[in-house]
């Protein structure tokens, strides 16, 4: 893909007789957030390691910013949080991030301010001077994220970034990743937590048994766009046409109205919900409830990786 920050073409990796990747092709555009999904042992981490230059592919090519992934210059704009990581426990959090800032090329004069900034961003501002040996798993994961972003990367590869975090921590990381994405950083999120992927990513790539099984938007994966479930006080024949402009309208067995949003509303479900609420309250139907939902990514994912040869 022209202008892609990450481009992998027919990557194959064999460990002896075991083939971890079989011709994986993927691209990531600037500012795009892509979720990498797949069951355990699918080859996701191997793919990420090839993209970071940690592992050499048996065949195929991987480039970052137009340079081969093994080229150090290709990694100048890369941030990476490994799946299995540990930091020297004798260092403080500040020292770890400063060490990585040094390696990432952050100038000596900018380093103290940048270290303080990223520790604050990941919620470790008050614990930066503590030794890493005393950090909880969640704090270590936040520290991992801090070192990944300290070099102001344009591409962030996050391998299970929230696996050790509590719900508050997961929300913090989600917000941070969303902010980075809004700032133009491309993000590849390798996670088993499908809700994280669903909330952050524009696109998903499903890898199973070393193959790319799917690459596309969440809507394409789940088969349909976001939906609105509308509960009204009075249901009559006039309601359906009033809501038809938002998408396909159906009445469920329980008497609720379900709207599968169509273009352009499927891109702005929250805005569609406001408009639907306004339309219903303007009429005689009485709005009792309105929920925005999406066909479950988990269902689609499980169906995809459970089918075929599994």
């Amino acid at each position: 893909m022209s202008g892609a920050v990450l481009d992998a073409d027919r990557l194959t990796k064999a460990y002896g007789r075991t083939i971890a990747l079989r011709g994986v092709t993927l691209t990531v555009a600037p500012g795009e957030a892509v979720g990498l999904l797949g069951p355990n042992g699918a080859g996701k981490t191997t793919a990420v390691k090839i993209l970071t230059g940690l592992v050499r592919p048996s065949s195929g090519t991987a480039t970052l910013f137009g340079r081969p992934a093994g080229d150090p210059r290709a990694r100048q704009r890369l941030g990476y949080l490994p799946e299995l990581f540990r930091f020297p426990d004798w260092m403080t959090g500040e020292q770890v991030v400063a060490f990585h800032a040094d390696l990432a090329g952050v100038s000596r004069t900018d380093r103290p301010a940048r270290v303080a900034e990223v520790l604050e961003m990941v919620g470790l501002g008050a614990r930066g001077r503590d030794r890493v040996g005393g950090y909880s798993k969640g704090m270590s994961q936040r520290l991992g994220l801090a070192q990944a972003i300290v070099g102001r990367p344009e591409l962030l590869l996050l391998d299970e970034p929230t696996s050790a975090l509590d719900p508050v921590g997961r929300r913090d990381v989600r917000e941070l990743v969303s902010q980075l994405k809004a700032d133009g950083v491309a993000v590849v999120l390798n996670s088993h937590l499908l809700t994280e992927v669903e909330r952050v990513c524009d696109r998903v790539i499903v890898i199973d048994k070393g193959h790319v099984k799917f690459s596309g938007t969440l809507d394409e994966l789940t088969g349909e766009g976001p939906r609105l479930h509308v509960t009204v006080g009075r249901l009559d024949d006039d309601l359906r046409p009033a809501l038809a402009e938002f998408g396909r309208v159906a009445v469920t067995a329980s008497g609720d109205v379900q709207i599968t949003l169509g273009p352009p509303w499927d891109d702005v479900p929250d805005e569609a919900a406001e408009q639907v609420a306004a339309a219903v309250t303007r009429g005689p139907w009485g709005l009792r409830g309105l929920v925005v939902s999406r066909a479950s990514l988990e269902d689609a994912f499980v169906a995809m990786v459970s089918g075929g040869d599994r």
Binding site: G53, R73, R75, Q76, L78, R86, P88, W90, H100, A148
Partner: protein
């Protein structure tokens, strides 16, 4: 970036209190050596059978060289311990993955790590040797024939062991590296012993075995080369050039052998860089 990995390697030694405890233990050892040497040297001076000054100097010298031998052994031990997990532990623990994806070539990480470990090992062997020599000087007036030659060769010995250890650590686990490294060190010692027996018994085939082993595993031969510089100038150690002791040599080391040991170290360093650069992490 100014030698960040080198500084981190040294920082680790301080952070984990390796330096502190290493020096405390070493200070105890030097203290014990001083006590032992003072006691023995006092006995030697009172021994009527050792009538000449030269004989007394000889005994004091041998005791000091024994002390240096122990110091060299400990330094070699430290070098092997430092190197055994230098790469494999970093990979297994997951510390390395986030570091080597930074925008610098892998050889740089390897070289800086090597340099850091070599710095620690060399500083240790130099300080230990100087401490032992200082004690010997104070107790018996001992002075080595060539302090520079002694220190330089001991530094080369620990550098070689760190280099071999890092190379092994690229491919083997920490425990396996430690075992193989000790075997390497032990084979070198055994080779030296066999060569010494060959010299005493005038069996050229044994001497040849000792020479071949010293070329492949030169750590013991390097110690012997260093010991020749430890002997005070003018100290009578036998006319054949081969003292009747298995742990020292009175022969000045061959420049060819020293050159070979240096080249071998550089070659193994290059091999280690290549192995590390090509392996999957």
């Amino acid at each position: 970036m100014r030698l960040a990995i080198y500084r981190a390697t040294l920082g680790e030694a301080f952070g984990r209190k390796i330096v502190l405890w290493g020096w405390i233990a070493s200070a105890l050892l030097v203290g014990l050596f001083g006590l032992g040497l003072a006691f023995l040297y006092d006995r030697v001076r009172q021994d009527d059978s050792l009538t000449t000054l030269a004989q007394r100097v000889l005994v004091g010298g041998i005791l000091t060289i024994l002390g240096l031998y122990v110091g060299s052994f400990l330094s070699a031990f430290l070098a092997m311990m430092l190197a055994a997990g230098s790469v494999s532990t970093e990979i297994d623990s997951g510390v390395l993955q986030a570091v080597v994806v930074r925008p610098q070539p892998r050889w740089r990480w390897y070289l800086e790590r090597w340099f850091g470990l070599v710095t620690m090992a060399v500083v240790y062997v130099v300080v230990m040797t100087l401490a032992i020599l200082l004690v010997a000087k104070l107790v018996s007036g001992y002075e080595p024939g060539s302090l520079f030659g002694l220190l330089a060769i001991l530094a080369l010995q620990v550098t070689l062991l760190v280099t071999v250890g890092m190379l092994l650590s690229c491919r083997l686990s920490s425990v396996a590296t430690g075992v193989v490294l000790f075997l390497y060190f032990g084979i070198a010692w055994m080779g030296g012993f066999i060569g010494w027996i060959g010299g005493l018994a005038e069996k050229p085939e044994l001497t040849t075995i000792g020479t071949v082993v010293s070329l492949v595993a030169p750590s013991d031969a390097l110690w012997k080369a260093a010991s020749s510089y430890a002997i005070p100038l003018g100290m009578p150690m036998g006319s054949t050039g081969q003292a009747d002791l298995p742990f020292l040599s009175t022969l000045a080391p061959s420049p060819w052998f020293l050159g070979w040991a240096g080249l071998l170290t550089l070659g193994l360093l290059a091999l280690g860089i290549r192995a590390f650069s090509r392996r999957d992490l």
